[in-house]
Symmetry: C2
Subunit: 590 residues, 2 copies
Amino acid sequence: MIKERIEALRKAMKDNNIQAYLINGSDPHMSEYVPAHWQSRPFMSGFTGSFGYMAVTLDKAALWTDSRYYLQAGEELAGSGIEMMKAREPGAVTLEQWIAGELQPESTVGFDGTCYALTEAEGFESFFSKNNLHVQSGVDLLTEVWDNRPGMPDCNAFLHPVKWAGLSRSDKFSALNRELEKAGADLMVLTALDDVCWTFNIRGADVECNPVVISFAFVGENRAKLFIDETKFDDNALAELKNDGVEVKPYESFYDELNTIQGKTIMIDPARTNFHVYNILNDNNKMIRQLSVPALLKSCKNDAELAGMKKAHLSDGLALLDFQLWLEEKLGKETITEYDVAMKLESFRSKQDGYVGTSFFPIVGYLGHGAIVHFRVSPDTANELKPEGIMLFDSGGQYEYGTTDITRTISLGPVTYKMKRDFTQVLKGMINLSNVKFPEGTKGCHLDVLARAALWNDQKNYGHGTGHGVGAFMNVHEGPGSIRPDLNNQPLRPGNIFSDEPGIYRAGEYGIRIENLIHVVEDVENEFGVFYKFETLTRFPICTKLIDVTLLTASEINWINDYHKDVFDALSPLANEEQTKLLKRLTMPI
Amino acid sequence: MIKERIEALRKAMKDNNIQAYLINGSDPHMSEYVPAHWQSRPFMSGFTGSFGYMAVTLDKAALWTDSRYYLQAGEELAGSGIEMMKAREPGAVTLEQWIAGELQPESTVGFDGTCYALTEAEGFESFFSKNNLHVQSGVDLLTEVWDNRPGMPDCNAFLHPVKWAGLSRSDKFSALNRELEKAGADLMVLTALDDVCWTFNIRGADVECNPVVISFAFVGENRAKLFIDETKFDDNALAELKNDGVEVKPYESFYDELNTIQGKTIMIDPARTNFHVYNILNDNNKMIRQLSVPALLKSCKNDAELAGMKKAHLSDGLALLDFQLWLEEKLGKETITEYDVAMKLESFRSKQDGYVGTSFFPIVGYLGHGAIVHFRVSPDTANELKPEGIMLFDSGGQYEYGTTDITRTISLGPVTYKMKRDFTQVLKGMINLSNVKFPEGTKGCHLDVLARAALWNDQKNYGHGTGHGVGAFMNVHEGPGSIRPDLNNQPLRPGNIFSDEPGIYRAGEYGIRIENLIHVVEDVENEFGVFYKFETLTRFPICTKLIDVTLLTASEINWINDYHKDVFDALSPLANEEQTKLLKRLTMPI
């Protein structure tokens, strides 16, 4: 079937005089999670992993993915004629190099510019032009060959109340207009779904796990235009939007409207704007490239958003208490698999007020499965839990008032000393990052080492970043800041929420990760400058059975005991008798 | 006098139809320390600080410098008609913005492209063209107006023996040719003086503190051409160079020779190559931009270089013991100023075998002067030392076999608890950076926080980087790596030598800095990857009188005692009786 699809694509390529066609499986909004309508990569390759991109020439096809998916891609691509290529490895052949090697000079590389970010597409243009290849970015060959293509997402949308948003639509429009004025720009174009939804205080369910709605927008010149299928809203919501000065227009009319804009100065974020949008506007307007203003503003949570996030973490804590009660009751008595754990986590969260859904696909890894960093639990591959060893579970919820993301690694019975030593070193890293005070201007790549030093000093490490930004009833992965080794130039700002999730993974044995969410608050200002620190949002005990206390400093022991006291004080007033009894046991001082 | 010089410059500008002229005071080699011949900034402005750049229009003139020099520049520029501008401050008007505001559209900005790096000059071109200004980079108006301009440096040059260089000229040429081949290039052009001197194993004294010779070079196509005044060498040296296949040509013939190169692929480092060189070559050749190969290779010291560096640190340790003996004998009995200290440091170093000169202008700061990070000691401003409080001294030597750079802060008598607390926190930072193990690929900006965390946690900080690269009988400041918050993309490599020099500065009170040199060595390779660690080169005790032991962890106390044992074991076999007695006292366990 894949072979036939590729042959159909090649026919379309020939009709359009295109010698190589690129497919990345992104959408016009540069989303991390992509609605079925735009899932072109699995359609065209059969590969179902979350990361990959593909090139098809008239006689070859290749798909790049990273080390997480080498095994899976190898299996899924077998027999398709598509070669698997390694991405993100130093020295490996890149897609651009591969194409330059395959095509004759003066050939044409085509792709659908609506699904590539400006920065990426410009990279193609620059590389291919140096290699005497032409680029045609305005060709959507997929629609031609994609029979029964899934329709556009059509879930209902709703308004996010100021109670949890903290700022009204008008407040946000004013803030955006102030930034336009500073930059000497007339308009900003918003294409990332979370940028639009934050700006207009709307939420929806068009994308799995992310409470967003398929939409575009302009803000500026005292106008706010929202391009969205208005049937997603009820009448009251539409009336409120219009009352706030929002002009609601059909999603499909966005590109036509772009074509009417002339002589303006327009602000776009080159990493979050698709190439097609840029090309239309660039012909007749002056473009200013700048980090998305809504992205930056929404990363600094206001008091209402922080209050909602705290409430969400209380709900999460209660749900996890229920989960642990269930686990302790059933483990060793009934058959429980990793998949059951994932289902139960969701089920206990769904009992909490205001629960909307899961904030990402849960990761549940018992022993060896825990060592697969992005293990996606499924009924087919789930292992059964036994009353021994350790289990890692990483899950989160979307609540009407906030978003959670928590990882705990817990003992299910007897454990080895190696597990305890690893766990304690991971914990030291998690605490040391939580505990740091740092001056204004500090970036995430400066702090990342604090979560690693205890592991590094024992010659261990983990291959992922330490922290990602988290939205407030919004995407669980949110920019622009991060706490990773990558040289991200964004300083940490008060109100930023990050995960703090060091780990260690021993292939075939077990994985350990401990994750709290932390947020940046002001500490002091003195002769040395302005200092910030972190406060912890997550409210669930850390498994003290896995701690080797002799490896901890006095201040680390104090941190644990203080944290557990905070967790107890926060959850116990909301807990039932059984939950409280468990909470008391789990938060005993060490 | 400055006014007259500027008027003469303006006349030359009018004759050349130039409406703004730029002067940065750099040389054609992008040197940090610039020979008198190229010191155009002090000549044209009267400002003598180490950092600044200047723009002159037909009716205005302005000079930018940074916060270290606001006071000094204000005084030195008074009455000159030159306005002082703030550089390196967020939001301050840049030189480019100032010029764009001053000039009419279609005006011309001129500068001498031989004294601007390619990256900088391209920045000008891009900014000014967007502002409808023309750029003329081939105009040297200074020579016209500079009567009695100092001549070219004419110090003797000599060969650096393989015993200390570790690699012969042929070894180095082969290494460079291999890199050319990898990149598909024919030639590399070397314009940075340390790149040339490292490649050809030559040293000299054309630049203060840096043992380099004014020169250019090409390497590639089985040729090595060195553009240098050959009268700097004795006959034996010249014969050896020629015997190694080096074609020695007059320094002045370099640009003419560039004009003859056609149809080649040429590798240049855009940050280390002057714009004029690039422009000549770019017309008739294909240019490849890449970090300087000699810069990268020389940053990874080989065994011979490390042996020399270790020897240099023994010499330095002995010299500093002599210094401390002298200080203890004279303090409180004779008048001693900060300037005397600087002189004595130099004088005791000069008694060591193979001493060549100071590796930078020494910084000696007693009490309040210690808080001025770049305090340059002079007889006029030197304070007298008293037997109380603390003194910071930062000094280093060039030896035929290596380069040193050490800072110690010592008590001269009674000190406050605040001083001890500050000192101990700085020391913790110095130790924590020394002690880290880290995986391959780690960059300096990842580790910088380790030297700061103890200060940050007490809401203190320092405004400079933690570590710079250090050459081996070469420049004391050497790239491409660094240990600073700046997002420098260069990973730390085995053989890299860095300073580890956290500090704290309390204006009007005192300054504290503790600096050792450390070098990267391989630690282990295991399932988590390849790990590196640091070893310490510096061999002189740290003032234990200033330590508050209660603030140290057990492992920090061990570090101090182990370090002092190493210092004792290394220096005592070389020390005289008096030195040994002092050494024993200074290295007593805490």
